[in-house]
């Protein structure tokens, strides 16, 4: 099937060329980082994780969101999604690969990464995260690819493939839960020390993932003969709506506990993000942009008339993606690390080089996504036409 | 077979590139390594293990010493070979005696290509003896 990725029109190859260029440039910047150390990033002794790790966290969510097409199809027999489960699985493949790359580029000694396997440490959540992510990657590559191949040959996938699919279903929330546990178990970080972190992560993942899939579906419809279909898109939009509402609700629960209990160690982080602390307001606008985007998206998604209008649906998906990205893909780190253990305020912004490397990893993910989608769509068109 | 000519030409070029190290070094000879002992090492007569063992397995010993000192807090080593006790320390024991790293360590390491990316990273942190 891979030969499908090797033919395409001019636009396809232009896109590939652009992505490869960005990857190449960022690769050289990464070499520069290897030579000079992580000093070229905006991170420091207080905000010791930054854009890289927050991208990783956000993308674990995107990967887990494949569940939102696989589960209705295989557990509720929602046939509409049978045509697009592979799109969800391939999105997960690309996202998990990006996750791994983001972890890798964040390491101070990437040459020693295999020490994690050489000295396995079951009490470390990071060890488990590596395990569950690797397994999830394999599950999605194998199931996505095999299902596509069997459908192409017009036979039902064999039992072992279906078994893997059923394993992948609980595995999706598992990866994001373990990722939340990276943060939620640290005694000194009031912003992260909350039992609702994993549920909140899952809620934000299950709205951002379907929103991304809807946007991808519209792009696919414009650039190929494959139409995901209005019913599927509307169903995805409904799923995103519920998840987004859950996400905002969880945020509200979080805020209530922190604001009403008024324990400074928890409160100060939220104050810093929402109203500013000690005269420092750097992240306040971003926080509000995130909250307002999510609220507007809820209104656009919840009213059937708006949801069924293409422009508004696209807007809502875009707002959802940006809103959750600011929340999880940037502020999660700042909120967790500031104020620092001595109560000082430290301002973190990614540097130019850090952003280039980040863009490079994203481009690599998009490249994989484009190639896998090209294959999937070509095969689907072949089956359906 | 389609494009026979192109495929065979490609294979040949590929082989030539893969064998580049052979082509570049063809006809060259290299001096065998000749590590020299420092005066102090000569006078000590015996290292902590027989010479051939040190030659073939010093890296294993170093890793053992590393784990003993850092992980077990055990900094005393008893050599059965010369029946003496030593502090487990690369800088203060090994390199104090073998203070001529360039003529001793590097001599073989350079010859065997244990340099650059494949070199032991000891000296990124441990201090090389001043020569």
């Amino acid at each position: 099937m891979f030969e499908k990725a090797l033919v395409g029109n001019k636009k396809y190859f232009t896109l590939i060329a652009i992505l490869l260029t960005i990857i190449l440039i960022s690769f050289f910047v990464y070499i520069y980082q290897l030579k000079n150390g992580l000093i070229i990033t905006g991170m420091g002794r207080d905000v010791s994780w930054g854009l890289y790790i927050s991208q990783f966290t956000y993308l674990v969510g995107v990967a887990a969101a494949a569940l939102m097409v696989v589960l209705p199809c295989y557990l509720h027999n929602y046939k509409q999604f049978a045509r697009i489960t592979v799109l969800g699985e391939f999105m997960a493949v690309s996202a998990v690969i990006m996750c791994m790359l983001f972890i890798f580029i964040d390491l101070g000694r990437p040459d020693r990464v295999l020490n994690v396997l050489l000295h396995p440490t079951p009490n470390s959540v990071m060890f488990w995260d590596m395990v569950v992510l690797s397994v999830y990657l394999l599950l999605n590559i194998v199931t996505g690819w095999m299902v596509l191949q069997y459908e192409r040959n017009e036979v039902k996938p064999p039992l072992w493939v279906r078994t893997l699919i059923y394993i992948a279903i609980p595995w999706a929330p598992l990866i994001h839960t373990v990722t939340a546990f990276l943060y939620a178990g640290l005694p000194g970080r009031g912003y992260w020390l909350t039992a609702i972190m994993a549920p909140r992560f899952l809620a934000s993942a299950f709205c951002a993932g379907p929103a991304l899939l809807i946007l991808l579906a519209f792009i696919i419809k414009r650039t190929s003969k494959f139409d995901v279909g209005n019913d599927s898109i509307q169903m995805l939009a409904k799923i995103a709506t519920y998840a987004l509402i859950a996400n905002v609700f969880f945020l509200f629960c979080e805020l209530f506990t922190v604001l009403y209990s008024q324990i400074p160690e928890h409160l100060d982080h939220f104050k810093f993000l929402i109203i500013g602390l000690e005269g420092q307001f750097q992240y306040v606008p971003l926080t509000w942009v995130s909250i307002i985007f999510m609220l507007v998206a809820i209104i656009l998604l919840i009213v059937p008339k708006y949801r069924k209008t293409k422009v508004l649906l696209i807007t809502a998906c875009f707002l959802t993606l940006v809103g959750t990205w600011i929340d999880k893909g940037l502020l999660l780190m700042v909120g967790g690390f500031v104020p620092n253990p001595f109560g000082e305020i430290i301002i973190y912004w990614p540097t130019f080089f850090e952003s280039i490397i980040t863009m490079g990893v994203w481009s690599f993910g998009v490249l994989i996504l484009v190639i896998l989608y090209k294959i999937a769509i070509a095969v689907r068109c072949e089956i359906e036409l | 077979m389609y494009d026979k000519g192109k495929i065979i030409a490609g294979l040949i070029i590929g082989m030539l590139i893969i064998m580049l190290p052979f082509w570049l070094n063809i006809g060259k000879t290299r001096k065998l390594p000749d590590p020299k002992l420092s005066e102090k090492a000569k006078l000590a007569e015996k290292c902590i293990l027989p010479t051939d063992e040190m030659r073939s397995a010093h890296q294993v010993l170093l890793v053992e010493w590393r784990d003993l000192a850092v992980r077990d807090g055990e900094r005393l080593y008893y050599s059965e070979y010369n029946q003496k006790k030593y502090e487990i320390s690369l800088e203060n024991t090994c390199m104090d005696c073998h203070s001529n790293k360039k003529e001793f360590c590097d001599e073989c390491h350079n010859f065997a290509g244990v340099t650059g990316g494949s070199s032991p990273t000891c000296w990124n942190c441990h201090n090389e003896p001043k020569e």
Binding site: I39, M43, D106, R112, V125, R189, E344 | E39, A69, K130
Partner: protein
């Protein structure tokens, strides 16, 4: 013999040249003075649980600065001036910033509010950094010291996120250019690994006290808290002390006497 013939001259000359050369060789290492590297058995300092008490009523900035300086010189801690990229094993912070939990408007803060006090790794009995490390690069010794194995650290900085005290430093860049004078007897670190105070475990293993304790003019007391006859045990059972963020359950082993 009053005439030196050519043959004899050559003999004497060559012998004396040999003598001079041999002499210069012997100057390098005289076999009589030769001492190989073997040592007497080390008298290690041992404890059930090492702990440290810092007497805030007695310590002053001059002493603290001296401790910091001696520690950092001994352990080749680089001097990066950029605050966010600093590496530090022991340093000073305002009392009000160290004990900043809750409402500190009254009581002790008024007494010590603007006083600088030393902070270092708390050598927790229940260390979160050890719990999270994915490679066991940081681990607890049997005597309670939380050790960094620089050979194993992958630089993921999970321990820095886990430490509630900000006691850990990452090498954001190659530290060597920032070390004024390298102490040849102690290794440096390299870029990409995390480091921190380790209670001078290499000194304890050779029978010496931590360097800051030695330099503290008796304002820092160090000893075995697991031994009821030790000085530190007695002081802690007599005097009032604080520990940083005790409520987190990390059981820090740095006690601040007040």
């Amino acid at each position: 013999m009053d005439k030196i013939d050519r043959r004899l001259f050559l003999k004497i000359a060559s012998l004396s040249i040999l003598g001079v050369t041999a002499g210069s060789l012997l100057e390098v290492v005289n076999p009589k003075d030769f001492k190989d590297n073997s040592i007497e058995p080390l008298t290690k300092l041992k404890a059930k649980r090492w702990a440290m008490a810092i007497d805030l009523t007695a310590i002053n900035e001059a002493i603290i600065n001296n401790c910091i300086n001696k520690c950092h010189v001994t352990h080749n801690v680089p001097n990066l001036r950029d605050k966010q990229h600093e590496v530090k094993w022991i340093w000073q912070e305002k009392y009000s910033a160290v004990f900043n939990e809750g409402d500190n408007d009254f009581n002790l803060t008024t007494l010590y509010k603007n006083k600088n006090i030393p902070v270092l790794c708390n050598q927790c009995d229940n260390p979160p950094c050890v719990r999270v490390c994915p490679t066991k690069a940081t681990f607890s010794r049997d005597d309670g010291i939380v050790v960094m194995d620089m050979h194993r650290c992958i630089g993921c900085r999970f321990c820095m996120a886990a430490c509630p005290y900000g006691s850990r430093s990452f090498n954001w860049t190659d530290p060597r250019p920032y070390i004024d004078k390298i102490n040849e007897e102690y290794p440096t670190r390299e870029k990409g690994v995390v480091e921190k105070c380790d209670f001078c475990m290499e000194r304890l293993d050779r029978g010496e006290l931590p360097i800051c304790v030695e330099e503290s003019k008796n304002t820092i007391i160090f000893g075995d808290i697991g031994n009821k006859n030790s000085e530190i045990y007695n002081i802690l059972s007599r005097r009032t002390f604080l520990r940083r963020k005790e409520h987190l359950g990390t059981r820090p082993q740095i006690f601040y006497l007040i």
